[in-house]
Symmetry: C2
Subunit: 436 residues, 2 copies
């Protein structure tokens, strides 16, 4: 138990500070778990004069002083951002050192080359904190599912979007007000567009697809939550649904389906009660059946706990002399672009469509006719407002339909005279395994 | 990659058959993950003439032929039951061999001695499948939480009870009918008393307490769901709650609280949508915050997937020459009985109390007075039925109160004349972290 492993910590912001804190506070427990003492030998900081829970002579503002220290056994990248972080990870892997990172952006954009490099060098590249900071989904898909196959997954992967939709529903407020509330609470950036637009969730979905399905494919459908209005929450509730920001992955004989968009989920489903800034990943294993992992998607301490869990895993493997198994023996590391992506138009699901229509006779018949002509059948339909009192809102839920057919029907309607403004179209998704 | 590890499989019922199937179907993936080929060398069966997916000469009905085979590297116990299984695990550990087991009964009853033996021999004793067959909660508490501390947990750990309560709520049927439905579906045994009485959940809670809190204590409060009537589901719904079979663990300065009983949980909480036969464990980490893991609590394939995940872990540790870390370096292995158990009367929570009262003036005043005299204050109260038309139902929700105080107030009432029959008392529990 006398062995010591030296850690090079790249970045010491809120997450890095949390990592330092945990490594110190839990030093004995980690030593027992890992079989070696963990020593933070070098820390890359922006401001070396600030006090941190390590000796001042270990702090440096020079990346090379950390990355070129040959005595470092493993690197932890928590600087964030893209270019510099990618360079650090690359340099560490090139030197044959394992890396723990929380950087979803870098892995989503450069995963193929970085995982390839890690595999070539036979070292671990661990990233639990990159998909939902406080959700143990990476180790679940990697370890618990080692003998099983994921057939589909559905996640609420962006806390900002989920918080905004939850506040709209709970407080009946509009999106602008909910976004301001999220900013006040620290759940949204000053510029929330990457979160609300679905891009952050798409990065995480790409990583999940790598882990769950062993594929390295772009996410073809990325839609934000901006089209949702308060009225959609009210209609969804009337039908027994709520609106959630979803990321969906599915494998079938038709190929791999990856999409990010808001959707209606049944109020009784477990995802419906993933509220506020909380995140969750639901998945279905061929043998395991339905499984869900839920927790905080962000935040300094939750993320730090996940980073330290990865440090412990990687350190244990180093002690045992079996480093690199996570990059050779897993679906994530062997992910291939050699899989068919289902084109968005071929996706089949149910739809919620909200029309604002003119007060004129025969409107309903026109709507129903246009959909029917394209083979889209209506399951339920409600109308709000009296036709004689100006524009009315018509909401319909369809049976399962091809996306291309629905879009064609809406284009047909667009060319007709009944439309007042473009309809709001939301998909309806139902994770199975919701119980009895 | 040419190394081979020899497995001795004890038991080949539905779970054992699933394990054999997965080991064969996923042989290559497991070899890549583990770094060794897994070979099922010996299988203990009841009927050696039945065909299985291994060569017939590896089947035996003689436990000694498996347990005394010195070439076996790791044992898998899936015979179930208590005495024989305990003996098998003990014998394997004594021989210095690691064991994977799905046996909650044996671990709950004999955990202290078996974990002690594993630690003494420096070998792993893995049990993911013993707490909710298809829920990866053991590795989550052990690995993801390695640098964190669980402060409280709340689980739906018995699929039979949850199925019965879900059917009562959804279909408005009574308990007897719901139990028959569970038996028809294969979710309940012919004698469902261990499930409905809370004993099965108590075994799992004991193991969770070991993992999460590092304590080895009996569960002092074990109450079944048998007192629940259809009317309780209706009243709970009126207040925005539903009735769930809970197992609760909590650590505070007052000690360790462990209890199993049905309780009201808010409809918006994530546990409220854990329906049917599904199980879940919610917990709160000091750093990680709220986390929930959800899935199938039983079933041959879900359980087999978890058993094989354990086999892979243990085999990897053997290959690396670091076997036994899981029994030396974890809270579960170091669990101590040296902790204060909070006596049931000291527990503080909110209560739902349903009285059936005689038609007589002043009943409400008597109820409220009796509770108030013991310092239990009422938050909400509703009455069903008119006082002039015979017995009425009065349901009240209390503010937070000491259990002993509530019981004393009910005893006082029992001695008065207003009571028709003993009230139905349910606790109200609210997992925090339910979102905005």
């Amino acid at each position: 138990m006398s062995r010591e492993l030296r850690i090079g910590l790249l970045g010491c912001g809120t997450v890095g500070g949390g990592v330092l804190h945990l490594l110190k506070a839990q030093a004995d427990a980690l030593e027992a778990h890992v079989g070696a003492r963990l020593d933070v030998a070098r820390v890359l900081v922006r401001d070396a004069s600030k006090s941190r829970p390590v000796a001042a002579d270990r702090l440096t503002t020079d990346p090379a002083a950390v990355l070129e220290d040959e005595k470092i056994d493993l690197f932890v990248e928590v600087v964030g951002g893209e270019t510099a972080a990618k360079g650090f990870i690359e340099q560490a892997l090139h030197a044959g050192k394992p890396v723990v990172t929380a950087n979803k952006l870098v892995l989503a954009k450069h995963g193929a080359s970085l995982f390839g490099l890690a595999r070539e060098k036979g070292v671990d590249l661990a990233f639990e904190a990159a998909i939902g900071g406080g959700i143990p989904i990476v180790r679940t898909l990697r370890d618990a599912m080692v003998s099983d196959r994921v057939v589909s997954l559905m996640g609420i992967l962006n806390g900002t979007s989920n918080y905004v939709l939850t506040r709209m529903l709970d407080d009946g407020i509009d999106m602008a007000e909910a976004v301001r509330a999220a900013q006040d609470k620290g759940f949204a950036e000053a510029d929330p567009s990457a979160d609300l637009g679905g891009h952050d969730a798409a990065h995480k979905l790409g990583l999940l697809a790598r882990l769950a399905f062993g594929v390295d494919l772009p996410v073809p459908t990325v839609e934000g939550i901006d089209a949702i209005e308060a009225v959609d929450h009210r209609f969804a509730a009337r039908f027994g649904y709520c609106v959630k920001p979803l990321a969906i992955g599915r494998v079938s004989e038709r190929g791999v389906e990856l999409r990010v968009h808001p959707a209606l989920v049944p109020n009784r489903s477990v995802l419906a009660n993933v509220n506020g800034e909380l995140n969750a990943v639901w998945f279905e294993g061929e043998g395991l059946g339905p499984c869900l992992v839920y927790g905080r998607g962000a935040g300094a301490l939750p993320t730090a706990v996940s980073v330290v869990a990865d440090i412990a895993d990687v350190a244990r493997a180093l002690v045992a002399g079996v480093g690199g198994l996570s990059t050779t023996g897993t679906r994530a590391a062997q992910a291939t672009a050699d899989a068919r992506a289902v084109p968005p138009g071929e996706v089949q699901t149910r739809y919620y469509v909200r029309f604002t229509v003119d007060d004129q006779p025969g409107v309903m018949a026109t709507l129903a006719g246009a959909l029917g002509a394209r083979g889209v059948s209506i399951e339920q339909l409600v109308q709000d407002g009296r036709p004689s009192e100006g524009p009315a809102t018509v909401v319909l839920l369809t049976h399962r339909a091809r996306e291309a057919d629905l879009r064609a029907a809406l284009d047909d309607l667009n060319a007709s005279e009944v439309r007042v403004k473009p309809p709001c179209v939301l998909r309806i998704e139902d994770p199975s395994g919701g119980g009895a």
